[in-house]
Structures are given as structure tokens and as C-alpha cells.
């Protein structure tokens, strides 16, 4: 597979760290001089640009949290002149005031570079055709992929999200080689193709970059089989740049973090202490070369760990493990902490169960939390015996109990009865009024 930016992605540790330190110092200087919010924050923390003499000094800097991004909406975190801006993106704002990413020409250049790296990891080269099923608009997904594919010189089908029949028609008629969309939508496309009598395996589609929502290894297996492609996990967030922060190479063993532009740390979400490599915690990211909206130690709320072992692909960048959960997705059921990803892992171990599941949390007549896990029954696990179905239900129940320590009601539901989203899959329905 091609490596887009060999100098950056295969740099030696020493060279990379020197670059990171210089860029970190520049970023702290920049926000201290230009963003009143950061100047006050740094002053309060007793830190200033001179505090950074080595990379470890980053721990002297205060964290930035999502609420602060909302409080400073729309332009409060701008570290450049408004006249230098060339593009603005925001989050959807479904959970509150949207967060803003503002890009200068240099920021877009950086974005194109990291997205070219991302698409290259999925084997995309000039001459390939990218069907970009991420939404175009204020959302970063559509234009992020667009900028990266332009940089590579690939042919772009800017179809945006939704309109499944048209997606299938475009895919077939224009010979898409790469697909970019949410992982759940890729499966929805595969199911729809089947229903329309289109054999995806016959099409030239080779690989896909899937992100914007958490997914599992089991889902990868299913996507790869149903679409006949190589499926790559990609990571990013509006706050930092959009997609392009990290992505999987062909080894699919963690996502290579573009650490020359984004500095990752893992912290204990409760104490804020920096954790050693390999330990699970909250991912914190500092942008190292942004001009528009650089962030210091942004708390992503994503749970993962850092992997520094060398990767067979030849890149030397640190990798993050597939996301293990969100600090804010943490479900507390009868006082037990659990993440939806743990439930997914259990379902994954049970042969034949689909990654299509939904978790409903409610308080019953007893006022105790009750959790129902709805699992779709596919043909592979369907038995004509009620005893067969009951033993499947018991097995899921028992494995969940041993993994999570809670007893869930397992409801077997018909295939395709759990709503498929065209964006982020809604896994949890919390009906508790607390």
C-alpha cells in the first residue's frame, strides 16, 4: 500500500519529537498572544509559552473541554485574523451549541495532507474513484475526504450521505473503487444492494474508510464480506480538524495517529493524570500546527490506549487502539459502569449474532434500572425449536452477566427490525427519568 507522506509518517522518533516540541511551543505562543480565552486560562494555571522546554512539559498546560468550546461559540477561539479564514465547519449541534472548526489556507493544506495519508492507507491512488458518502456541508466528513482525495488526484463522486438507491446506481455506473461513509451505512448499502439485485462483489469497489461512529471487529468482518472490500477505521473530530487525525493502514492493528500535527496523550478521566503507553484512558489531543482554531489538551471523551510497537507497514507513528467507549457514553446501570462497546464485544463472541443491536434502559415498577438488549435473529442462528432460541438467549444473557456483572433481559427481534441510521447508529435508548 502507498505511504503518502513518508517523511512525516516514517520519521525517526528523535526527528519527530524535535518537530513536535517546536510546533507545540509555536502553538502555545500563538494562542497566548492571540486568544484571550487561552491567555487567561494559561495565566490561571501559572503557565505561559516559556513553560514548554520539553514535550513532557505539556502536562503543565490546562485541559480544554467541550463546554468551553460552546461557551466561546462562534469565534471565541480564533487564533488568526477573520480575513485569513477560508472555511468553517461545525458539529451538528444535536447535543447542544455546535462546536466550531475554522480553517485558514494552511489548515486546509494540512487537512488535505492528513486525509491523503488516510485514503492512501486504504490503497487509494491517482486514477481511483472515491464515492464520498459522508455528508457535505458544515459536517467535516464530506469536505475532509474531498480535500484528501483532491490532493491524491483521485476522481471524486461527491454524492454526500443518504439516497441509497442513487448511491448504488452511482457506485455501479461510475465504477467507484473506494467508499467513504459511516460503517453502519455501508452495511445498509450492502443490504439494499442485495434487495435491488446488485452484486457488490462484481463491482470494482476495493476498500472503504469508515468512521464518525464507533464500530467493532465483528462489523469489519461483516462489511468486508458483504461488500467484498478492505474496511479501514478512521478517526477524527470537528474540534481538531475533522477526519484525518488517525487512520488504519492495511495491518488494521490500531490507527496511525498523525502525531506531527496532533499530539496525543492518554489520561485518567477522573484525576487528569497522564497515563503510560498501553494503559486505557481518555484520549487528549493538542493541535500542533493549526492556525484557525488550535486547541490545547482537548479532552475527546474517547477511551482508548496508545500502541508504540512498530507496525509492519513501515510507518513509525504511534497508534491508538480502536475506540473502547466514550466517557460520556458510560452507562451506569444499578451502579455498575459499562460501555456499549462491552455489550458489542460479547455479541461478537457469539457466532451468528449480528452487530445490529440496541440497548434500552428503563426503570421498571420496582424503580430499579432494567436493561434490555435487543439482538436481531439472523438465519444463521435461527432454530425451529423454541428450546434452541431460548438457549441462545440464555447464552447471551450469561455472557453479558459475566462480562458486565448485570443481568439484562435479552430480546430476540426480527432481522432488520432495528432502525438503520444513515448517520450515526443510535445504540442506546435511555428511558429513565432521573
Amino acid at each position: 500500500m502507498p505511504i503518502w507522506n513518508r517523511d512525516a509518517e516514517c520519521a525517526s522518533n528523535e526527528a519527530r519529537q524535535a518537530l513536535q516540541l517546536a510546533r507545540l511551543q509555536t502553538t502555545v505562543e500563538r494562542v497566548y498572544a492571540r486568544v484571550p480565552f487561552y491567555r487567561e486560562k494559561l495565566d490561571r494555571a501559572g503557565a505561559n509559552p516559556d513553560s514548554i522546554t520539553c514535550l513532557k512539559d505539556i502536562a503543565k498546560l490546562p485541559f480544554t473541554v467541550k463546554d468551553e468550546l460552546r461557551q466561546t461559540y462562534p469565534y471565541g477561539l480564533l487564533a488568526c485574523d477573520r480575513s485569513e479564514l477560508v472555511e468553517i465547519h461545525t458539529s451538528s449541534g444535536t447535543t447542544g451549541t455546535p462546536v466550531v472548526g475554522a480553517y485558514t489556507e494552511a489548515d486546509l493544506d494540512l487537512w488535505a495532507d492528513v486525509m491523503a495519508r488516510t485514503l492512501s492507507m486504504a490503497g487509494c491512488v491517482k486514477g481511483d474513484t472515491v464515492q464520498n458518502g459522508y455528508g457535505y456541508g458544515m459536517f467535516t466528513g464530506g469536505l475532509g475526504v474531498h480535500h484528501g482525495a483532491r490532493r491524491i488526484g483521485a476522481n471524486i463522486l461527491p454524492i454526500s450521505s443518504g439516497n441509497t438507491r442513487r448511491q448504488l446506481m452511482v457506485m455501479r455506473d461510475f465504477g467507484a473503487t473506494h467508499l467513504t461513509c459511516t460503517p453502519s451505512y455501508s452495511l445498509f448499502l450492502a443490504e439494499s444492494a442485495l434487495a435491488e439485485g446488485i452484486d457488490l462483489a462484481e463491482l470494482p469497489l476495493r476498500a472503504g474508510c469508515f468512521g464518525a461512529e464507533p464500530w467493532s471487529e465483528n462489523m469489519r468482518v461483516e462489511i468486508e464480506a458483504k461488500l467484498g472490500i478492505s474496511a479501514h477505521d478512521i478517526y477524527g473530530l470537528t474540534e481538531l480538524i475533522g477526519p484525518g487525525v488517525a487512520a488504519e493502514c492495511e495491518c488494521k492493528n490500531g490507527q496511525h495517529f498523525n502525531e506531527d500535527y496532533f499530539y496525543p496523550e492518554i489520561i485518567d478521566p477522573l484525576t487528569g493524570a497522564v497515563l503510560p503507553d498501553g494503559e486505557k484512558g481518555e484520549l487528549v489531543i493538542t493541535s500542533l500546527q493549526r492556525e484557525g482554531t488550535p486547541l490545547l489538551r482537548y479532552r475527546t471523551r474517547d477511551i482508548t490506549f496508545l500502541m508504540r510497537e512498530p507496525c509492519a507497514c513501515g510507518r513509525t507513528t504511534v497508534r491508538i487502539h480502536r475506540l473502547l467507549g466514550r466517557t460520556d457514553d458510560l452507562m451506569i446501570i444499578r451502579g455498575v459502569n459499562c460501555f456499549p462497546s462491552q455489550i458489542e464485544n460479547v455479541l461478537m463472541r457469539i457466532e451468528g449474532t449480528q452487530p445490529h443491536y440496541q440497548i434500552v434502559i428503563d426503570r421498571g415498577a420496582t424503580h430499579l434500572d432494567e436493561i434490555e438488549v435487543q439482538v436481531e435473529v439472523e438465519e444463521a442462528i435461527f432454530s425451529d425449536l423454541t428450546s434452541g432460541m431460548e438457549s441462545l438467549r440464555k447464552r447471551i444473557h450469561d455472557e453479558l452477566k459475566s462480562e458486565l456483572g448485570i443481568s439484562a433481559h435479552i430480546k430476540l427481534v426480527e432481522p432488520r427490525s432495528i432502525p438503520r441510521s444513515e448517520g450515526k447508529a443510535k445504540r442506546i435508548i435511555d428511558r429513565r427519568s432521573i
Binding site: 425451529d384 431460548e390 430476540l412 427481534v413 426480527e414
Partner: protein, 138 residues
């Protein structure tokens, strides 16, 4: 003879059976035997139809988890003790009956019972050896 039974996974919701039967009716598929095993959350609909392969293909295309299961359909004289004799045979031969139901097939003096057993070949051989008539198809 082995008969192909169609089994479908169904959620226990109002109107689901109406969906299935309407689908089959539209394609002119005739049902010859039908039974439901129900639990609190779901049911398993079992039926024998005149075109089992077509029926299963149709149901799958409509999104149901459906499969074919090998069953035996045996003629039972319509008189007291007839079913008891067959049950005793299965007991004595150690062939386990997982479930059974009566079909809509009938004549003046014969009923037809659909049997799902753990060893279909053994069950068939035993019935035939003892002079019972198994139905080749519906």
C-alpha cells in the same frame, strides 16, 4: 418421505401473522399444516406448504429469518388409540419427538400428523416397517 417444513422467527406483535399469510396468499402458496410455538417475546411459526422452496425464498426476500426443516407427515387412523400406538413406537425405539402438530390434510378415516424428531431417517424407517403410511408431499 421427508417433508420440508417452513419455520419462521416472528416477534410477538399484533399483525405479524397477517403479514406472513398475506405474503403467501399473494403468491398463491397453499398452506397444508400450521402451528405456532410461542414465548413471551417471540414465536416460531411452523407450516407445511405446497411449494416450500418458493415460500422460503419469498419470506427471506421479505426480510424474515426463515428456514426449511425436515419433518415426517404420517397418516393416523381417526380412531381412539391410533396416535398412542405411534407414540409408543417412538418411545420404544428411542427416537425423540421434538414437537408435533396436526395438518389440515384429512379424509374420512385418516388424519395426518406432522412430526419433528431428532433422527428423521430412523423415525421414517420405523414407521414404514410398522405399516404406517407417511405422506410423500402435500
Amino acid at each position: 418421505m421427508i417433508i420440508k417444513q417452513i419455520s419462521i422467527f416472528m416477534e410477538n406483535t399484533t399483525g405479524r401473522l397477517a403479514d406472513v399469510t398475506a405474503l403467501l396468499a399473494k403468491s398463491g402458496i397453499n398452506l397444508r399444516a400450521i402451528s405456532i410455538a410461542d414465548t413471551a417475546d417471540f414465536g416460531i411459526l411452523r407450516m407445511v406448504a405446497d411449494q416450500p422452496d418458493a415460500a422460503v425464498a419469498l419470506l427471506k426476500a421479505a426480510g424474515f429469518a426463515a428456514r426449511e426443516t425436515d419433518v415426517i407427515a404420517v397418516e393416523v387412523p381417526d380412531q381412539p388409540g391410533a396416535l398412542a400406538r405411534i407414540m409408543a413406537l417412538f418411545r420404544d425405539e428411542g427416537v425423540n419427538i421434538e414437537y408435533l402438530y396436526a395438518s389440515l390434510e384429512h379424509s374420512a378415516d385418516q388424519a395426518v400428523i406432522v412430526l419433528k424428531v431428532d433422527d428423521v431417517a430412523a423415525g421414517l424407517a420405523m414407521l414404514e416397517k410398522n405399516g404406517f403410511v407417511t405422506v410423500p408431499s402435500f
